[in-house]
């Protein structure tokens, strides 16, 4: 008598052995691709305007906080050295865009030279601010 064997039910186990590898790959990817904001430690209040749009991140950043301290790429810099430092950073770059953040309460006497220096360097200024509703 030929008796047919019963088929084994299909396995319902999901293989999770490679999940750990995937997780570590994700971590490695995020660690390698993350760039931390260079001016994260700078505390300043941004100026507001309704006439602003989205801005692309720039590799060169200049900030001036409420006390008038200037930072280039997150490092403190004297006003007299600003032009030279920015010049060195934009040299050889196609897009000479400098991201500029200034505290909203600073007076013109404190920040005017930054504008003049960046203008002389020939850099485009990406003025960062906050969107204000009209």
């Amino acid at each position: 008598v030929n008796i047919r064997r019963k088929r084994k039910p299909a396995s319902t186990i999901v293989p999770i052995a490679s999940m750990g590898d995937i997780a570590f790959l994700l971590i490695i990817f995020f660690v390698l691709t993350t760039t931390f904001a260079k001016e994260a430690k700078v505390k300043l209040e941004m100026a507001t305007s309704p006439d602003i749009t989205k801005l692309k991140d720039s590799q060169i950043s200049v900030t001036q906080d409420a006390e008038g301290v200037i930072r280039v790429q997150g490092e403190e810099c004297e006003m007299k050295d600003l032009k030279q430092k920015v010049q060195a950073l934009v040299a050889g770059k196609d897009k000479k865009v400098v991201m500029l953040k200034i505290d909203k309460d600073l007076k013109h006497s404190a920040f005017k030279q930054i504008f003049l220096d960046l203008s002389e360097v020939g850099a485009d200024i990406a003025l960062v601010g906050q969107k204000e509703k009209k």
Partner: protein, 141 residues
């Protein structure tokens, strides 16, 4: 003589929980990461000495003094909203390169907040910003 072989335990590192740790790390980073949204405007400011500046009759001048804004040859005092409207009406986008320049003159006591709003208004109206500070003006005279 029969010698008993010792059972040597092979050192095994338990890696079973590694994936759990990895996922916990991912969840931590996802929850704590804040992406910065940059808003503003990009502008180029032409540089040059006062001698090389084209004649001022083709250019509009905005003067800031404290909280006060004055515009044009007549130095008409106006609010920021009025300035925005005036700049929009000036249709700088339709003008030639020489006539798009807006001279911004500012005294030392002007806050960056006001300065920024005026600069953004000029940029929004497609004007080209030209900077003059009062010291230069004094030297010029």
């Amino acid at each position: 003589m029969k010698l008993r072989q010792r059972d040597k335990d092979e050192p095994v590192v338990d890696v079973g929980s590694f994936s759990d740790i990895a996922f916990l790390l991912i969840i931590f980073f996802i929850l704590t990461t804040t992406f910065t949204k940059l808003t503003g405007n990009t502008m180029s400011i032409p540089s040059g000495s006062t001698e090389s500046t084209p004649s001022e009759d083709k250019q509009d001048t905005i003067t800031l003094n404290g909280e006060e804004i004055t515009y044009g040859e007549t130095s008409k005092s106006m609010t920021l909203d009025e300035l925005r409207d005036t700049l929009d009406e000036s249709a700088y986008g339709e003008r030639g390169a020489d006539e798009r320049m807006v001279i911004l003159q500012s005294s030392d006591n002007v806050s960056f907040e006001l300065y920024y709003q005026v600069v953004m208004a000029i940029r929004n109206a497609e004007g080209v910003l030209a900077l003059i500070d009062e010291d230069d003006k004094g030297d010029e005279e």
